[in-house]
């Protein structure tokens, strides 16, 4: 292997000052990455820091020319024009959402797009022999003819790796490989990565599970806000989870929140021992024995990494609109209530603003006024005939009070910017006059100015004596807004911190480990 570097260990891959811009936005700003041959290199950063974008640049999803900077691989500057080109060179990426075809067999999936052929006809005998060998290498004991849909996620991940090995991979990139796996499958995968490392294969892993990274990684590069912050050598620098967290969140907290003095009353909403199963996977739990409560006038934060089960918890409480209900109790004003449908939840005084505005929160064909009243048509209709005048009046009232920027309430919601769309969605739920409003990522995809306004609206709702739950991936937002913060890790509530005892470090620690902290 040729190497231009003079270091003791050869550098197999170097990404030099990579800058990637999307219209109006720098997703990657001068990011550098040096990966040594046959090491496991972890990339850490908060959601949206730019990890996935960097890997897309490396694997040719964003072709050469669409970014600035150089990719030096095995001593040569590479110009990948698509994924095929990077795979040909031996760089294979395995995405978080597996790219396997459920109806096809393990063998067919391994060789998909890369079929061994003899004069244009697939040579299945050879494919079979090779797949048996590949499956043995990844430690998967399954018949190659088994359809993918019949094996679990953990095994599917191994098939993906077998597929990569078949392409004579030199650098294997794994994006959140254990996010969907249980403990034992995760451990198996991590062991396999160590085994591949021993055979000279380099791995780059993106993961939110810092304990796993601490366990297997040799070096860690930390990315924050599109910039590479530092590269740590795990053994030499004695890196532990706390050190990684410090690097990930080390941004100063600006004062981006309106002044607010909470007026907190007594507990009025309580969920106890809430357990919910995954809607499709039989034995997987998305909420494990979770209990929490909300006081009147209180803003309660829910912190957790993507996929930790925050949305699942919220939606299953909101009229069981997600997952399979297994057990649990909901109490409101001291009385137990049962919410089997969204309608019942709304009638009981709950509101839920989804994180996925465009596909779950809005009918993009609607205009502002019909959206505003959509969740509470009853209030403006007599004998189930909608009063169009009242509809207009209500919409107009919310347009003014929330300062939605639009020429008229008859405008289509699809034309609004993200922040104004979110205001319309907030108006829709405020019009249902909820006692408890659950906001899932309320400021996702919204710029700073509009965020400030939305924070103001949230605080105003709390001042009216309503309970507000805010789910957010952005810790500064939770710290600035919440009176109390619960942390969630893998479907379980791992702790609760009061505003004055919470910090980014303490939250991140609870969000990334199963260690149960003492309840406050």
């Amino acid at each position: 292997m040729t190497s231009q570097t003079t270091q003791t260990e050869p550098i197999i891959l170097e990404m030099r000052s990579i800058t990637k811009e999307f219209p109006g936005v720098k997703a990657l700003d001068n990011v550098s990455l040096r990966v040594k041959a046959a090491e496991i290199h972890a990339i850490c950063g908060e959601n949206g820091a730019g990890k996935s974008t960097l890997m897309k640049v490396l694997s040719g999803v964003y072709p050469y020319g669409s970014y600035d900077g150089d990719i030096v691989y095995q001593g040569q500057v590479q110009q990948f024009k698509d994924i095929r080109a990077s795979e040909h060179a031996g760089i294979v990426i395995i995405h978080q959402e597996l790219a396997l075809i459920p109806e096809l067999s393990i063998m067919e999936n391994i060789f998909l797009g890369n079929e061994p052929t003899k004069r244009g006809v697939i040579n299945w005998a050879e494919a079979r022999l090779r797949s048996l060998d590949l499956l043995a290498r990844v430690g998967l004991r399954e018949d190659p003819d088994t359809p993918i849909k019949e094996i679990g996620v953990g095994k599917q991940q191994l098939v993906e790796i077998a597929k990569a090995l078949n392409k004579s991979v030199k650098i294997l990139i794994l994006d959140e490989p254990t996010a969907a796996l249980n403990e034992s499958d995760s451990q198996h995968l991590l062991d396999l990565m160590l085994g591949l490392k021993a055979k000279g294969i380099t791995s780059i892993i993106i993961s939110h599970k810092l304990n796993e990274i601490e366990q297997i990684a040799d070096s860690i590069t930390i990315i924050r806000d599109g910039k590479s912050i530092e590269t740590l050598n795990v053994k030499a620098d004695g890196v532990d989870e706390d050190r990684i967290i410090k690097g990930m969140v080390g941004r100063t907290l600006e004062s981006r929140f309106p002044e607010h003095t909470p007026k907190i009353g007594e507990v009025f909403f309580e969920v106890k021992d809430w357990t919910v199963g995954h809607p499709n996977v039989a034995d997987r739990l998305v909420c494990k024995n979770s209990s929490f409560f909300v006081r009147r006038g209180e803003i309660v934060g829910f912190a957790g990494l993507m996929g930790a089960g925050r949305t699942e918890l919220a939606r299953s409480v909101f009229g069981r609109s997600y997952g399979r209900f297994i057990s649990g109790h909901i109490y409101k004003d001291g009385k137990e209530i049962t919410l089997k449908t969204v309608r019942q939840a709304i009638d009981a005084g709950l509101g839920y603003v989804t994180e996925d505005r465009k596909s779950l929160g809005l009918n993009l064909l609607d205009d502002i006024k019909t959206t505003t009243v959509a969740a509470n048509l009853r209030k403006i209709s007599h004998n189930s005939v909608v009063d169009l005048n009242q509809e207009f009046t209500v919409a107009e009232q919310y347009r003014k009070s929330l300062r939605t920027k639009t020429p008229s309430v008859e405008e289509g919601v699809a034309k609004l910017s993200g922040g104004n769309q979110q205001k319309v969605v907030l108006a829709k739920w405020m019009f249902t006059d909820p006692d408890l409003l659950i906001l899932d990522e309320p400021t996702r995809g919204i710029d700073v100015g509009a965020k400030y306004e939305i924070y103001g609206i949230i605080q105003q709702l709390a001042n009216q004596g309503k309970g507000v739950i805010v789910i957010s991936s952005e810790l500064p937002e939770l710290l600035g807004l919440s009176d109390r913060i619960y942390t969630i890790f893998e479907g379980a509530i791992t702790g609760v911190l009061n505003k004055d005892e919470a910090s980014q470090e303490s939250l991140m620690k609870l969000m990334t480990s199963a260690r149960k902290a003492e309840a406050a």
């Binding site: 936005v25 449908t341 779950l360 009853r378």
Partner: protein, 426 residues
């Protein structure tokens, strides 16, 4: 032009279709030397297409909700034959026959709605099966025979408003109906305009409203004149009357009631609707059931018109109804469409059919032309969407618009955030 657009609401396609309809009528009126707009022909046109237009009313709701119904022709035939047999063999009166037919339609609709809404089978499959099932039932029950219906039942499909009152040279009831309709439109429009103004909403200039009313009333009164001056014994047809009542009812339901809102919501974004407390299964069930009830009604009207029920009644009706709905501005993906638009779409097809027939164009060419019209109408819509709503009419009026209002009222007021850009890219 911009003001004209306001006359008929914002839907470009519907607006275009009204123009297409008027243009078609004018074209055929000239091409056939005035044989298109004669009382006899217009009455015929309504009589011969009312059952398709009734189907289009139900079909547009099905399509707005995001489904399709291929079984309507077979259901119409099955209901028709059952009612004809019940009247002949059990001797039940005509009105009991109608009630039986509606009840049977509801039963069939409940069957199909259950599969679609609660079992979750795509409506395409359920109604494809229904198409075979109920055609089979029709031929099984009727033993593939033609079954005649008595004269009082025929009135439903081929009757006219009776002559009453003094001899004015017109059909008095038709005249009364026409004048009432015109008055209703004027009062309704002026009242809603006044209310909107009181609320501070944007209202079109007075002359726009006036022009709109003059045009609509002119059309209504001219149609009234044609219907009222038909050859003796004919006037406004009963099927047309049923259709008009249904358009009013369903137009109201779809645009003004909670249920109507829910149909649009489910079709536009089912998940968002469910998270807003809409019971989407119930909505889907009702929409499918309603379609079958209307199919039963259409079947009975057809039997009344053709004086007998036969084994091949209603073949191909589903396609005519679906074509009417799509020409009338509905979207294949659901969430978009109007009852009035579908009726206009159906009339475009009907006028085309009728005009080509009057010109002596053969059935082969007629089908080719109708096929092209459907394709072009939907292509026009798809083009509109891909071009960011810039329609042909929009392009023509572009400069005019610029002079009138702010150049770009919808300019984004915020910069795009990092995450949004990344999300979009991903």
């Amino acid at each position: 032009m911009n003001a004209l657009k306001k006359l008929f609401g914002g839907n470009t396609r519907q607006f275009g279709m009204i123009f297409a309809l008027v243009a078609l009528i004018v074209f055929f009126q000239i091409a056939t030397d005035g044989r298109t707009l004669t009382p006899g022909n217009v009455i015929n046109l309504f009589n011969g297409n009312s059952y398709i237009l009734i189907l289009a009313i139900g079909m547009v709701l099905v399509i707005i909700a995001g489904h399709i119904d291929l079984s309507v022709g077979s259901i119409a035939a099955f209901v028709g034959v059952t009612v004809a047999l019940a009247i002949r063999d059990w001797g039940i009166p005509w009105y009991a026959g109608v009630l039986l037919g509606l009840a049977l339609g509801a039963l069939i609709g409940a069957w199909q709605g259950w599969w679609v809404a609660y079992v979750g089978i795509p409506a395409f499959i359920v109604t494809l099966a229904g198409m075979l099932l109920f055609r089979g039932f029709n031929q099984f029950v009727g033993k593939s025979n033609t079954i005649p219906v008595p004269a009082d039942f025929q009135y439903l499909g081929s009757g006219y408003l009776p002559e009453v009152g003094p001899n004015t040279g017109f059909n008095n009831l038709t005249l009364l109906l026409g004048i009432a309709a015109a008055a209703f439109v004027v009062v309704g429009e002026l009242r809603s305009r006044a209310r909107a103004k009181a609320l501070g909403a944007e209202v079109p200039e007075m002359w726009v409203t006036a022009l709109k009313l003059v045009l609509i009333c002119g059309a209504i009164l001219y149609a009234t004149y044609l219907f009222a001056t038909g050859r003796p014994g004919t006037s406004f047809p009963i099927p047309g009357l049923i259709l008009a009542v249904l358009v009013l009812i369903y137009g109201f339901i779809s645009s003004r009631t909670v249920l109507g809102r829910h149909v649009y919501a489910v079709g536009g974004n089912r998940h968002a609707a469910e998270l807003s407390g809409v019971q989407s299964k119930k909505v889907n069930f009702l929409v499918m059931m309603n379609m079958s009830i209307l199919a039963g009604l259409a079947g009975m009207i057809f039997v009344g018109r053709s004086t007998a029920s036969g084994p091949f009644d209603g073949v191909g009706w589903e396609l005519d109804a679906i074509a009417a709905v799509f020409i009338g501005g509905a979207a294949v993906t659901g969430g978009v469409g109007t009852v009035v638009g579908s009726i206009i779409g159906g009339l475009v097809m009907a006028v085309l059919n009728n005009g080509l027939q009057l010109l002596g164009v053969g059935a082969d060419l007629t089908q080719i032309i109708k096929g092209l019209v459907l394709l072009i109408a939907v292509a026009f819509d798809v083009y509109n969407k891909s071009q960011g709503k810039k329609s042909i009419i929009g392009l023509l009026t572009q400069n005019f618009n610029r002079k009138q209002g702010p150049s770009n009222p919808n300019q984004p007021d915020e910069t795009t955030s990092t995450k949004e850009a990344i999300a979009r890219e991903a």
